[in-house]
Symmetry: none
Subunit: 372 residues, 2 copies
């Protein structure tokens, strides 16, 4: 499973970077000399090359390590309680995909906090989910009620918050301004309560315009696709995406946002918390139907919760460069989705949809990490 | 299937128990000398040991005895009419799981009484259920209408009550104060009408704070999980849960609440009506996803109805210690859920969810008690 991806970095290509950013780049390059993401031969040569190869993660080993044993003495909730913040008048599938994926991987409880309009539909998709119709959009709130409704939304979500092992913000959230303001408060609340958070979809739109919401939060994961990543790079680094030095730029981006973990989705998935760049490039499926990112966000939420617990009891035995539970969660989630997508594609070919992938999450995990 | 579980009792360990409770303990220990839950050798020795071993129930034999033969001469309703009181703005899966499980085991009719919000969704899960949108939550009732709405709710549920062989109170009930007050009236009404009642989930929250609602009701079953049991013990016995003397404490708890049947859920399930302690410890599944308790409550409702009918026509031939239909229903429900969960886990492994277990209820019952 191991191998290095030939991404290298040239900060001078980052045409719009400020002088401060360039100074930071040079500092980073110097520091990176000893990092595990550099190849053995490069370290042996002691060169100051700007190349920062992403290392293919041993995802199967990571999944095997962090996935908890199924012990009959455990009780409901101990294998994970996940919440998804998302689902509005237009979008109901995305939060469902994220929440049901969490359960299919092995979480015990999966909640969704969405608007009233979305709730009835999401509930009807599956009786396994707990759906809270508490979010509101501008069209249903008068200007003079905004403050009180906003406070009520935060109170409704807040009273549940500390029960969750991780929250996923964004699947099917939409971009309604009032809703976005409420979600801002929820993200702040999660941070204050030290609840890990995975941000995807419209959550990334919110975060990109308010980087301070996650900056320096080591329990935050961003999972941008190609366009979301482009906006994030432009906003945080003030430059265009540099494919040639993609790995380095990702590392720099994470560092710039204070060590938040970023999972950059693509043909291969690249993951960095500013310390190293890990890569998951096992082949999944060539179908790009909507919803696969939602499976990923739910999966990352479960796996990072498990990794956090594993590291707590194992005292970080996975190794220094893999001591961040959010990074481990990203690697595991990415690898599992790819395996499940491969099975689903083999089965359904061009007709493969997101629900087909979800049906293969269990088989995929079983192959890597048998339940018995 | 038989064996004794080495739970023993030491009432002095119940640190916070009042003097009155301690006196009652000593009285109970004295009485217990001749009880069937003590081992043969202990009875032979005539010792006054505080040990109260829980006896593994012969659940298969019980299921075979109480499950009615399928006779073409019978008509709709004779195999059981069950109602679930539960389902609110947030929870719709739980009452569905309880009600559909009752049907899958063999009941003829399964009703749900829930809020308007929940009804549409629950109806959409299955056309097999009869769903009454009659409950109301505080947010939809003005203060000045509360008395009239409350009376209307009771009237709506009350006019159906006597048709049911058992009602299940609690799955997905939520904790809305107005709803809780209405359910209090329903529980009182069921008792007056001598309708057996199984109380789970949020119903246990209500009962724990109002023990008089069930105290002395021999037709009531409580099915607490680890946390619900903890609150019940604290409230009723004024002490902490004592794992070492778990069997004895369960018996004492049941006695304290006037002989109500308690099914304490866990790795093994322990059941007592104050007379003896029975245990079901056949292995089910190590998954602890939410909803399994709802299957159990629906199952106990059906089996206890069948047991009640069986005891009526068989004049209690199962034996003195097993003459309580609610205890028989608990043993049968617990054993069937465990068997179905084992099948579902074998099939789905970590991806197993509650709906998967429900799909195996029929096969599990067929293996124990063939329909032909």
């Amino acid at each position: 499973m191991s191998g290095s991806i030939p991404f290298s970095c040239h900060p001078e290509n980052c045409m719009l970077a400020s002088a401060a950013v360039l100074r930071r780049n040079l500092f980073l390059i110097k520091c990176l000399d000893g990092f595990s993401c550099r190849s053995h031969s490069q370290r042996m040569q002691g060169t100051q090359s700007a190349a920062v190869p992403a290392v293919e993660a041993d995802a199967e080993k990571i999944i095997q390590m962090i996935t908890p044993a199924l012990d009959p003495i455990r009780y409901k909730g101990q294998a994970g309680k996940i919440a998804v913040i998302g689902g509005c008048r237009e979008y109901t599938g995305a939060p469902y995909f994220a929440a049901i994926s969490a359960l299919k991987i092995g979480a015990d409880l999966s909640h969704i906090f969405c608007t009233k309009d979305a709730a009835t539909v999401i509930k009807s998709y599956s009786p396994e989910l707990i759906v809270h119709p508490v979010l509101e959009e501008s069209y249903s709130v008068r200007d003079d009620e905004k403050a009180s409704v906003s406070a009520k939304v935060l109170s409704e979500v807040g009273k549940w918050m500390e029960r969750f092992d991780c929250i996923v913000v964004g699947p099917g959230l939409g971009r309604d301004p009032f809703l976005m303001d409420c979600v801002k408060d929820i993200v702040k609340h999660a941070r204050q309560a030290s609840i890990p958070i995975v941000i995807d979809g419209d959550g990334l739109f919110l975060i990109t315009n308010n980087l301070d919401l996650v900056s320096g939060n080591s329990l935050a994961v961003l999972t941008p696709n190609i366009n979301e990543y482009k906006r994030l790079v432009e906003k945080a680094l003030g430059c265009e995406v540099n494919e040639k030095d993609g790995s380095y730029q990702l590392q720099l981006l994470s560092t710039k946002i204070g060590g938040v973990t970023i999972l950059r989705k693509g043909k291969s998935d690249f993951i960095s918390d500013g310390e190293a760049v890990h890569c998951v490039s096992t082949f999944g499926s060539p179908r790009r139907c909507g919803g696969q990112g939602d499976i990923l966000s739910g999966s990352v939420a479960v796996f990072s919760s498990w990794a956090r617990h594993h590291l707590l009891i194992a005292n970080g035995t996975i190794g220094k460069s893999l001591s961040n539970p959010m990074v481990l969660g990203c690697i595991a989630g990415s690898a599992l989705l790819r395996r499940a997508a491969a099975f689903a594609f083999q089965d359904k070919k061009r007709a493969m949809l997101t629900t087909d992938i979800i049906e293969y999450l269990g088989k995929s995990l079983e192959e890597i990490c048998p339940a018995d």
